[in-house]
Homo-oligomer: 362 residues x 2
């Protein structure tokens, strides 16, 4: 029996994607071996690799100005790899600070060049409960790039309008909301995302990069760290994480089969409305810190009147077959991660549980 | 039906390790989700993670002076990460050149500091057919480290006696022979290995590092690239490739179950003797370039009298249920990779096929 999985990442994956993997785990398409036992230079694996790229391209409508790359090291490695490629001691990058992950991203920039905080929504409690408004941003027109976190997994905030940054290249960490709905990829010089929320298992990072921007990257860094190395070799310069890419392929094929990003957006909005509707009907009990305009459709956070009730909530939900609801270590409370593999029905089950929970403990 | 898989990497995995993964792919130990859907901070995953570390520690007899780390980015990222941590513009590292991978490793060092060739066995054809002898090495006693490739996957050579480097830290890329037999880990300041030959799928790198040596690493580099970051966080600083580590755990458990490294060494030596015995009995036909004392027990390379025969060999072997025998792109010929998952019987089947092949085409 599968449980309802609200984990923040690694997160639940669509069951059909996993079933497909199980089915052919020891014998991929009659080849007599697992896809993970195939050479990354063989035609069987290359077909999977290229299908993952073309599905992502199709689903997101990635323009031909941009290229899809597969990297490793988690989104955290991108925090360092972005400035390594695109920042020098003589240049400065702008960072839009909206949470823990923006902070960690900026921390890694200092080893390569200068950085500025172009906007921050940190409050007196050192927490973040919203994303900045356009007029709050103090953008440097000469910046090497602007870095943003599109969805703040820990604080449960999300950008619903992307910032206007003029001609400065915009780079977004979309680890926790890539593929939640259609977006205009052409606005971004680079998008990166650890796969383990919406796309696949941990151990694989998706990069979508503007080729012109990429060409400006440093060549005075090791080959393995240059985006151009991945681009020139179709992400096969060295051995990619083949099985992880295969699993992403399965998830992307599932997304296409259910109707693509327009359908996922409908489901994700419905899930968000269900959860936030319940929160707002019992706002004294489910205390949601995030400003309404910045609420995340991927991670809904709230706290109950006491920490003891938070714990009871998590424990009773678990008994009811729902796991992964504990808030992030440093934040506490409850976090409901509702990535693409979480169904509308799953959220209905949770919301019904919440209704009962208020009746019992409210 | 599973084929006999002589792939050089990603390579075949022990069937019991894969069957175990298939069995619990959608429901890990009754938790109602796949291990890849578990949080990397949850007790279920952490038990797997720690078991992988303790199995590796036990199998290799890793002393308490050393620590096991899990990294990403392939062995190729280690080529850069080693000098990033341990080389400065003021220091120099020694490289022992025994093949393509040694060359690539040294190429990445120049971005961080100086490097010297302390020995090379490159020949007039720009190939390598042996590893250097101790007396051929011109070691710099002030070197930051000595880097070596313990097994040369492409050229089919292997070190059978590790070099004596005095008090200089010795770093070995053991990507293609870690776990082939017991070794004395204490001789090495650091060992690294991409998992995809002897240990697991691609997308995970095992590092075994001396803690005192690690402590000397630069702190003027991004946190995500410091070995000490992985060490301080038990390789859970950011999200590790959880499913890949789980698969390594399954392979390590299988190694233990069959008798550990002494048993693997017996099998690997028997496999090597079978293959090289056949080669030597038909030395005019199976032309093996490697000097006998440097022959690899992991990758056996030879060429047939003509390239057309090489192709026929690969094609007929495939019909007989054996794949992965084509030599590396730049080298050609035949390569028989006989990692731990390849059984003695598999090699007997190949050798019988070779016998028939000489009769028919010799
Ligand atoms: C928005 C965001 N960025 C970056 C990270 C770090 O990702 P990783 O653990 O893959 O390095 C996370 C992890 O949860 C995240 O949510
Ligand atoms: C000895 C050795 N080192 C390094 C590498 C590169 O490994 P990766 O592709 O994981 O970067 C290989 C790949 O086959 C290898 O055999
Ligand atoms: Mg995480
Ligand atoms: Mg955050
Ligand atoms: Mg390889
Ligand atoms: Mg080699």
């Amino acid at each position: 029996m599968r449980v309802i999985n609200f984990n923040a990442g690694p997160a639940g994956l669509p069951q059909p994607a996993l079933e497909r993997a199980r089915e052919e785990l020891l014998d991929f398409q009659g080849t007599g071996m697992s896809i993970m036992e195939h050479s990354h230079r063989g035609k069987e694996y290359e077909a999977v690799h290229n299908e993952a790229i073309s599905l992502l391209t199709e689903l997101l409508g990635i323009p031909s100005t941009h290229q899809v790359l597969f990297l490793q090291g988690g989104a955290s490695q991108q925090f360092a790899q972005v400035p390594m490629n695109f920042l020098t001691p003589e240049t400065s990058a702008d960072y839009l600070m909206t949470g823990v992950w923006s902070e960690k991203a900026r921390d890694e920039a200092k080893y390569y060049g200068q950085s500025r905080i172009a906007a921050t929504t940190i409050n007196a409690d050192k927490r973040y409960t919203r994303v900045p408004k356009q007029e709050e941003m103090q953008l440097d027109p000469a910046a090497a790039y602007v870095h943003m976190t599109s969805n703040n997994t820990i604080y449960g905030t999300q950008w619903h309008t992307f910032p206007e940054v003029g001609s400065v290249p915009l780079i977004a960490d979309m680890s926790s909301d890539l593929l939640w709905k259609p977006i205009d990829v052409s606005k971004f010089a680079m998008i990166y995302a650890g796969a383990q929320k919406n796309v696949g298992p941990s151990g694989i990072v998706l990069v979508i990069i503007d080729k012109g921007f990429m060409a400006k990257g440093s060549t005075n860094i090791p080959k393995i760290f240059r985006y151009s190395t991945y681009a020139e070799n179709n992400s096969l310069y060295n051995t990619p994480p083949t099985f992880s890419i295969y699993l992403c392929r399965n998830v992307l094929a599932w997304i296409k089969s259910v109707g693509g990003l327009p359908q996922l957006e409908r489901w994700n909005r419905e899930k968000g409305e269900l959860l936030y509707g319940m929160i707002d009907r019992h706002a004294d009990f489910f205390r949601a810190p995030v400003e309404k305009g910045s609420r995340s459709y991927m991670n809904g956070v709230f706290r109950l009147p006491t920490e003891a009730l938070d714990e009871t909530f998590v424990a009773e939900a678990k008994k009811a077959g729902m796991v992964g609801l504990k808030g992030y270590r440093s934040v506490g409370g409850i976090r409901v991660s509702m990535y693409n593999a979480v169904t509308v029905d799953n959220v209905k089950t949770l919301v019904a549980f919440m209704e009962q929970f208020v009746k019992k403990h409210g």
